[in-house]
C-alpha cells in the first residue's frame, strides 16, 4: 500500500449513534497510516452531530471488533457500535 495515497473508509453508525449523527453511513478519506481512532476523530470533527459520539466507542473493522489502535486500510468498513444489548 502506497502510504502517500489517502485511504477511503466507509463508516457505519448504528442504533443511538445513527440517531446522533442523523445518518447510518459516511465516507471518510484520511492519510495512511491511520487507525480506527483516527477515523473516529475525523467523524467527530467533520460531521454534524459527530461531537455527540463518544471519543472511545466500541468499534468493528470488516465485521470484527477492533481496538481503536488497530490500523485501517483503504476500502475498510469501520462500524461504531453503541454498548451491545442483544439477547
Amino acid at each position: 500500500m502506497d502510504t502517500a495515497t489517502p485511504a477511503r473508509v466507509r463508516v457505519l453508525f448504528f442504533a443511538r449513534y445513527a440517531e446522533l449523527v442523523g445518518r447510518s453511513e459516511v465516507a471518510v478519506s484520511l492519510p495512511l497510516p491511520a487507525t480506527v481512532g483516527d477515523v473516529v476523530r475525523r467523524v467527530r470533527q467533520d460531521f454534524p452531530g459527530g461531537q455527540a459520539l463518544p471519543e472511545r466507542p466500541l468499534a468493528a473493522v470488516n465485521l470484527k471488533q477492533a481496538k481503536l489502535e488497530a490500523r485501517v486500510q483503504d476500502g475498510d468498513e469501520v462500524a461504531l457500535l453503541p454498548p451491545i444489548a442483544g439477547g
Binding site: 457505519l12 448504528f14 443511538r16 470484527k64 442483544g86 439477547g87
Partner: protein
C-alpha cells in the same frame, strides 16, 4: 446481507422464533440432553411500563459473530450440537427475542454450552434494543449503565 435477503440459514429472523425448527436442527440419537434458553421481552417492576422492545442490529456482523461464537463453542464442547436464532424488529412483552438450543450426549455439556452461548451473545453480538413504553417514550437500553431517554416521536 440486508433484511429482505434473510434466509433460513441466517441466525436472524423477523418472525416469531420457531422452537420446533431449532430443536430439529440439533436433534441427534447420540444426544441424551437438550437445553433450551429463551430470552423474552420483560416488563417487570424495574421496567416502567414496557410494551415492546425494538431490536436492531449490524446484521452482517451478527451473522459473522455468531459463526465465530459457535465455532468457539464447538471447540469447547465438540460433541454438542447448538442452534441459535435472534429475532429483530418490534417484539411484544412475553415473546422471545433469542432462543438457543444445545444438545449433547450428557446434560452437563448441554447446560454449559447453552450458558456459554448466551453469555457470549451479551458480550459480542452487535444487537441493540430500544424499549417502547406505555407513556409513548422510547429508551435505548445500555446494559453498561443507565437507560438513555429518547424523545418520543410520531
Amino acid at each position: 446481507m440486508r433484511n429482505a435477503e434473510l434466509n433460513e440459514m441466517s441466525y436472524l429472523t423477523r418472525a416469531p422464533i420457531s422452537l420446533d425448527a431449532l430443536l430439529a436442527e440439533v436433534s441427534s440419537p447420540a444426544c441424551g440432553g437438550t437445553c433450551l434458553f429463551l430470552g423474552t421481552v420483560r416488563d417487570g417492576p424495574d421496567e416502567h411500563g414496557v410494551t415492546a422492545i425494538e431490536y436492531s442490529a449490524y446484521e452482517e456482523m451478527v451473522e459473522a459473530e455468531f459463526g465465530r461464537l459457535l465455532a468457539d463453542a464447538r471447540d469447547r464442547w465438540p460433541e454438542a450440537r447448538i442452534a441459535v436464532r435472534h429475532r429483530l424488529g418490534t417484539i411484544p412483552v412475553g415473546e422471545a427475542s433469542i432462543a438457543i438450543v444445545a444438545a449433547a450426549p450428557h446434560r452437563a455439556q448441554a447446560f454449559e454450552a447453552c450458558r456459554y452461548v448466551i453469555e457470549e451473545v451479551k458480550r459480542r453480538v452487535p444487537v441493540w434494543k430500544k424499549e417502547l413504553r406505555v407513556d409513548g417514550s422510547e429508551i435505548w437500553v445500555d446494559p453498561s449503565g443507565r437507560p438513555i431517554p429518547h424523545p418520543a416521536h410520531g
